[in-house]
């Protein structure tokens, strides 16, 4: 508290609110950032950090609330205005023109006169000075496409400084960097702090907060849940605040009746489509009659792991065996259809992006992925009547509302869309069930229903793999828990007397 009184807040937010449709991304946010601080904002993905900073940067407008800079009430309607007020932002995905040089990118939008010349040379001179001042090593005449990710990020930082940024916002800056590049970045940020710049660091990695910041704000579900001086807090405490302690829905379940191994995952590595390694050397077994929970903060490789297991993407090395037969390796690859034929059901993490075709009607989505099987189609002709009757029945069984098979899927609420997917995947009595975020955006009543169904599947002898960022969900459902951090499995616990704190620490990458 003493610190805050002495140093002057350079940026202050008062009761900022922002909603997207029904989702309130920011609820009554009040925040002070002091001059010369490295201020961390930490929280899980979807906690509202990026939205908040986008408001400060002028990409979004707040629904209500005030923004003050140097104690002056201001309005930021566009990034251009925020730049003029000394706010710079380095985005997670860089905003650079690939085939321009470093200088050209930096003066973009501030070129001055119509013809390059004097201005360009002047800019180069200034930039060279800036680079020396902040110890940034960049070849100003290099083309962006020739630069590594770390250097591109430096260009972004230089761009912000050149435009006179006093406050620099970095959104998940280390997500795409190698460990060495991260060290370099930290050095740069520290030297910026020394020169009196203010830095706001958005991240979900606790180690970065501890290593760099002197102030930290924790966000959860659109709200600020904590505001600390970094030296007065611990990783444990931050992890606890970040993950939260909502109402625990414990479910009565019998002891698992564990059988043979169904899935055998051996040393797999998976790359995403940008060629970044997302799953690193992961091995585990999934057995009949158990629920294996994969805990972790979003973006630590769970998505890619699930996609590899369900046949959506191929592993880069290692192998996955189903019932003792390889289904994915460097050479062998069985796609989603082949896996479905072997009774592997998959509830994907993102229902809108992957689980559904929202432009299809409900009945079309209820057979999605099984549409080529009897009785839904016979010799490639869709059996409308069978599909309709099946849809009617399944919508009744799973209480999907409204029970109208011909209604467009986009007209169903999120919870009911989720039920459409679940009913489709569970109704076939699969031997393996891969579930990602089964209750994301689903109301309490439906959560219980969904959890009960998942446990029923286990009791029927299915092998269930549950990926969830909701720690409570993992704790109440899983028989065994593994934690993923930065693409690796960092711990395994039997869910008997494990505490949420223990898992929370593992989720933050603290293994000892």
């Amino acid at each position: 508290m003493l610190d805050r009184m002495i140093s002057q807040p350079i940026l202050e937010l008062q009761n900022v609110n922002k909603s997207f449709g029904h989702v309130q991304a920011n609820k009554n946010i009040s925040l002070k950032v002091n001059k010369g601080d490295i201020h961390g904002i930490i929280g899980e993905n979807g906690a509202g950090k990026s939205t908040l900073m986008s408001i400060v940067y002028g990409l979004y407008q707040a629904d209500s609330g005030n923004i003050k800079i140097n104690d002056k009430l201001i309005e930021i309607r566009s990034p251009h205005e925020s730049i003029l007020r000394g706010i710079g932002m380095v985005h997670q995905h860089f905003m650079l023109v690939e085939n321009f040089t470093v200088v050209e990118n930096i003066i973009l939008g501030f070129e001055g006169e119509f013809v390059f010349g004097e201005k360009l040379n002047q800019a180069k001179e200034n930039l060279t000075k800036l680079c020396e001042e902040y110890n940034l090593k960049i070849d100003l005449n290099a083309t962006i496409s020739d630069l590594s990710v770390g250097f591109r990020q430096r260009v972004e930082i230089l761009k912000a400084l050149y435009r006179g940024a006093e406050i620099l916002i970095l959104d998940e800056p280390t997500g795409v960097l190698t460990p060495q590049e991260v060290d370099e970045l930290f050095k740069i940020l520290r030297s910026l702090k020394k020169q009196g710049k203010t830095i706001i660091l958005i991240t979900h990695k606790l180690n970065e907060i501890m290593a760099l910041t002197n102030k930290v704000t924790v966000m959860r579900q659109g709200e600020i849940v904590g505001d600390k001086n970094t030296k007065d807090t611990t990783k444990d405490q931050l992890a606890e605040m970040m993950v939260g302690r909502s109402v625990l829905l414990r479910i009565d379940k019998k002891k698992p009746n564990i059988g043979d191994t169904v899935f055998e995952v051996k040393n797999i590595n998976v790359k995403d489509n940008l060629d970044v390694m997302r799953v690193k050397n992961v091995s585990f077994d999934l057995r009949k009659g158990e629920i294996l929970g994969i805990a972790g903060v979003t973006g630590n490789g769970q998505t890619e792991l699930l996609e590899a297991l369900s046949g959506i993407c191929q592993v880069d090395s290692g192998e996955i065996k189903l019932h003792g037969k390889i289904i994915s390796s460097k050479k062998i690859f069985a796609g989603p259809r082949q896996l479905r034929e072997q009774d592997v059901a998959h509830v994907p993490e993102d229902r809108q992006r992957m689980g559904l075709v929202t432009e299809f009607n409900a009945s079309e989505n209820l057979i999605f992925g099984y549409h080529h099987q009897q009785p839904f189609s016979k010799s490639s002709i869709m059996m409308g009547k069978n599909i309709f009757n099946y849809s009617k029945k399944i919508m009744r069984d799973y209480d999907v509302r409204p029970q109208s098979p011909f209604l467009l899927t986009s007209n169903f609420s999120g919870g009911n869309q989720q039920k459409i997917i679940l009913s489709r995947e569970l109704n076939k009595d699969p031997k393996v069930l891969l579930v990602g975020q089964p209750t994301r955006g689903v109301d309490i009543g439906a959560i219980e229903f969904i959890h009960q169904r998942i446990i029923d599947m286990r009791d029927k002898g299915a092998a269930v793999l549950l990926v969830s960022v909701e720690l409570d969900e993992i704790l109440s459902l899983a028989d065994r828990i593994v934690v993923m951090f930065d693409g690796e499995l960092v711990g395994e616990r039997v869910n008997e007397n494990v505490t949420d704190r223990e898992i929370g620490l593992l989720m933050a990458g603290i293994t000892n």
């Binding site: 046949g311 989603p336 082949q338 994907p348 689980g355 002709i381 986009s410 007209n411």
Partner: protein
């Protein structure tokens, strides 16, 4: 600015009937202005168009003949569009399709005529599909955008056909770049002849039984898109490629399949033109039907029934337009190209210009109805 309307509350008939009708009316008003400026009476012109295209049998025959071509090219565009592919290569695919028809009929003239017809239809589909499969493959496996490649393939088709017509399959007794005519027995039955068979005397129009083929193709496309596994998978890929992959549907295969069917449908235009009307290949016989087909499909909301109605409209414009230019000396043929342009502009490019306002208006009306 009008706020985005909640699309779920808009009744289907507003977006599918009222909006196109209003756009069409606007197009007619603007066209009327052109005609007025040119010094003619727009009302008289409209009367002439309607009479010329629907008022007497021969005129109506012409309207349906034009509509036949539009149905083929419109369906071709629509089926690719259901897989979110913008196939603007209908022109070239139709051109090559016509080549297939001619080659088959010409070189297999020894076969019984009905078999030639059947094989010629298949040849038109095969040649059209072959011309579309390359852009389809490039899109699916190499990521070359289908808009770019299909437009390139239009030029390639055009150059190839000129080469063939000048150097390879030209009728040596003629000066012009056309082929020899097919033997009379192979010509498709004309509407005129069919009417005469039943004892009606009707004057000449190019309408022939290809029109029935077009109707059959419309039904086929409807069935394919909404009643088969292939249509289901193509639509899934078109709407959400990620989800399609998840469901085990191959986007690559479906992109190629959609292009094959699209090209086959465009190719069938060759049946109407080569086997039905000209009985030989003329330079540039597709004459822009491929491009107009895009507007037809967009106006018909990519549904066979809509495409049929839009084809009738454009057939009416083609036929009625030529009547107008004949009767009204101040209006040239090019003037009517402009009128078609205005219609394409309003129902295609500016399709969404008034949509939000109109939908908003009707949503509000419905609200009032509910509350009172």
């Amino acid at each position: 600015m009008v706020k985005a309307v909640d699309r779920t509350k808009v009744p289907w008939w507003v977006s599918n009937a009222i909006v196109p009708l209003i756009n069409l009316t606007l197009a007619f008003i603007v066209s009327g202005l052109f005609i007025f400026i040119a010094g003619e009476n727009p009302y008289q012109a409209l009367k002439l168009i309607l009479y010329g295209s629907f008022g007497y049998l021969e005129g109506f025959g012409y309207t349906l003949y034009y509509a036949t071509n539009f149905i083929f090219t419109g369906l071709a565009f629509a089926i690719a569009f259901h897989c979110r592919l913008f196939n603007i290569g209908g022109e070239g695919q139709a051109y090559i399709g016509g080549l297939g028809v001619f080659l088959l009929a010409f070189y297999f003239s020894a076969l019984p005529v009905p078999i030639v017809w059947l094989l010629a239809i298949l040849a038109s589909m095969l040649f059209g599909a072959a011309w579309a499969i390359i852009p389809g493959y490039l899109q699916a496996y190499r990521g070359s955008h289908v808009v770019i490649t299909t437009i390139m393939f239009n030029f390639i088709a055009s150059a190839l056909m000129v080469f063939l017509l000048v150097d390879v399959i030209r009728d040596r007794r003629q000066m012009g770049p056309t082929t020899e005519a097919l033997v009379k027995e192979q010509w498709l039955p004309m509407f005129k002849n069919i009417a005469a068979f039943f004892g009606f005397k009707v004057g000449y129009s190019p309408l022939n039984i290809s029109f029935l083929l077009a109707i059959l193709a419309s039904f086929g496309v409807w069935f394919l898109i909404w009643r088969t596994k292939w249509g289901y998978e193509m639509r899934a890929v078109g709407h959400n490629t990620q989800a399609a992959i998840y469901a085990g549907i191959s986007p690559k295969k479906n992109i190629i399949l959609a292009m094959i069917i699209s090209g086959a449908l465009a190719g069938m235009l060759g049946v109407n033109e080569v086997l039905g009307v000209h009985h030989k290949i003329l330079v540039n016989f597709p004459a822009g039907y491929g491009f107009t087909g895009i507007a037809v499909a967009l106006m018909g909301r990519n549904h066979p029934i809509g495409i049929f109605l839009a084809s009738l409209l454009f057939g009416m414009l083609y036929q009625g337009g030529s009547e107008v230019t004949f009767d009204m000396p101040n209006i040239t043929r090019y003037m009517f190209v402009a009128v078609q342009g205005v219609i394409i502009l309003f129902s295609g490019a500016l399709e969404n210009l008034f949509r939000p306002q109109i939908e908003h208006f009707f949503v509000n009306i419905m609200k009032v109805k509910v509350t009172t």
